[in-house]
Structures are given as C-alpha cells and as structure tokens.
Symmetry: C2
Subunit: 161 residues, 2 copies
DNA sequence: TTAAGTACGATCATATAAGTCGGAGTTAGG
DNA sequence: CCTAACTCCGACTTATATGATCGTACTTAA
C-alpha cells in the first residue's frame, strides 16, 4: 500500500546520485560533471534500459539536461534544492492522487460512484497533506546519506469538523 | 501514484456508512442497527461480491462484527473515533510502506539494491509522516459528509540535516 | 568516420488488482 | 424442522499496471 513504483525509486536514486556528484562535498567547486546512464545503473544495480527511460522522462520534464554523443550523459537542470520529491514523482507516474477522482481538474473523472461517494472530501484533505509533504522535500534533503530528516505531520487538536 | 485500491476505497465507504447509520445524527439513541452487505453495495454502486470480501476482511481484523442468518449483517466493533484510516488500510492491503524494504521488521527485505540504496533513510522519514497522518485520522473524521477536515503537514523550517 | 552515448517506440513478461462463481455454514421466522 | 436470507471462504478468471527488453535512429567528441 502506498508503495512507490520501481521507476520512481530509480528516479530518486539517480537524482540523488547526480546531486551528490555535482554538488556534494566531493565537489567543492561545483564542477558539473556529466554522468551517464551506465554509471548510475552499475552503481545502483538498476537495469540499464529501464533507467535510461526513466532519465529520458526526467529530461523531458526538464529536471535534468541531456548531452548527446560520447562523453555525453545527464546533468541536473537546476539545484537539488529546487527539485521537489513531488515533482519527480509526478514526472514519472503522472499526477499524484490518492484516488483517480481526486484531481481538482477532472471533476468528471472516471468514477461512477461519484454521487454516492461519501469519502471524497475527507480523503482530498489527506491527499493535500501528503502532496504538501512531498512538495516540501527536495533532492537536497536526500543528499549526504545517511541523512537525518525531521518531518512533522499532524492533525491539530481541537479542529472542528 | 499513491493511489488507494478500490478495495480500500470500498472499505472506507462502507465504514463511513455504517458509522453514519449507527452514530450519525439520524440516530440520536445509538441504536446499533445491523446493516447488510447488499444495502451498502446498492447504496454505493459497489459490486456485491467484492464488497462482501472486503467486509469479511474487516471482520477478521475485528473492526466490524458479523451477525449471521437472516436480518444479519455487520456492526462496527468499536466507536468510529477508535478506527483509524491507517488501521483500515493495513487490514485491507497489508502493512503500508512507501517501498517494500521500508518496514522496520524486514530489514532483510527483498531489495537487492539495499547496499547501494541512497534514498532509504530519507524516504523512511517521509513514510513515517504519512503513516502518522493516516493514524491521526479516524472514521469519525469522515462522517457527516461533506465535512471540513483541516490537516497540516509540514517540514519545520531550519531543520538541520 | 566511428564508437559512445542519448532518444524513442514497440513488445513481452509478470505481478497485482478487480471482479466472479460455487458451495458451505449460520440463524430468524414460519 | 424447513427454508430463505444472510455471512463465510476459497478458487477462479479477467483486466490493468508495472517491469523489463529489444531494435533502431539520432547526435557528437575524438
């Protein structure tokens, strides 16, 4: 339940790796070394072909920039702090929502039970919280593993329903 | 992404319905009327057989109590406020986690990349937040649709990583 | 010119989810 | 004590999403 797909995992791993290579302690001068798919795949034991597609998707969504030809590869398109987890997940898996009918836009979404659905509103709030949480975290927060990230999530006491 | 399964949806709908019938405004005297599967299925346009299995699962996890024979059906096993969303989801879909290897118990879980995984720790924190959020909400919070539930979820400023 | 890389679409395999079916066990009411 | 209305349970089928692979075309540094 609530599991991330492998693709999403791979995307996050790759971005974390690229961020560390480009912006980590090992690189005090911020030399934006281009890293290629093979390097990442071998480093993390990820199927090469699959990772390639993931990176292509990330490139299409302008989170990384591709560089063709030999010595080519990918570079982060912006600073790690400017790439949120939510953005990554949306790029890979489409709009994130707890259920299909929970995207503000598609109010007509594929849900026959719509009119008989008694849980939509409360779940929308849950979803909102999760999205907010994922939006508040960036690739930067995943650098320098093992990290210590403190995240709070709570329902305030005494809220009127 | 992060989508709930239909079964989970059905479970929540059913519980919300049962809660409303048993504890809602319509029932100031808390008469614990037994509701049967058919009634819930028709009310929410849910496939009868599937809902039946969902309810059986909930009963096995002691969130509802079954009553056999004609005029039989189900009753909430405890007050709506004592049934958290997290409990329901876990009952239906097993332990909730953002990835397979993120359950404290199975440290040996099926993840070949374990040793090369650079995102485990941060994602564990994310997961923790989500679980906490889902644990803080109960069926009671879903009653009286359309409700207004205010949930906050944030990463405090100035946290050191 | 060529080898090392990305780009992209088609395809296959597999896992999970969704839904169905048939039969067995209970029990209120006649 | 019989029957109809329920729950219970497991096996089965189907649909859909995911994971992974393949082939090929495009780009470019050396």
């Amino acid at each position: 339940m609530l599991k991330l797909s492998k693709k999403a995992d791979y995307a996050l791993m790759a971005l974390q790796y690229m961020a560390t290579v480009q912006y980590g302690e090992m690189n005090a001068f911020n030399i934006h070394r281009v890293v290629n798919t093979k390097e990442i795949a071998e480093e993390h034991l990820i199927p090469l072909e699959l990772l390639a597609k993931v990176l292509q998707t990330l490139a299409k969504h302008e989170m990384i920039e591709s560089q063709n030809g030999p010595k080519g590869g990918y570079v982060l398109a912006r600073e790690p702090g400017a790439i949120s987890i939510a953005q990554v997940l949306e790029a890979i898996e489409g709009p994130l929502g707890i259920a299909d009918c929970y995207h503000e836009k598609d109010d007509h979404a594929a849900c026959d039970q719509m009119e008989h659905c008694n849980i939509r509103t409360p779940l929308l709030k849950v979803q909102e919280s999760i999205v907010q949480l994922l939006s508040s975290m960036s690739i930067e927060d995943m650098m320098a593993e093992p990290p210590l990230i403190i995240v709070e999530s709570r329902k305030p006491e005494g809220v009127q329903l």
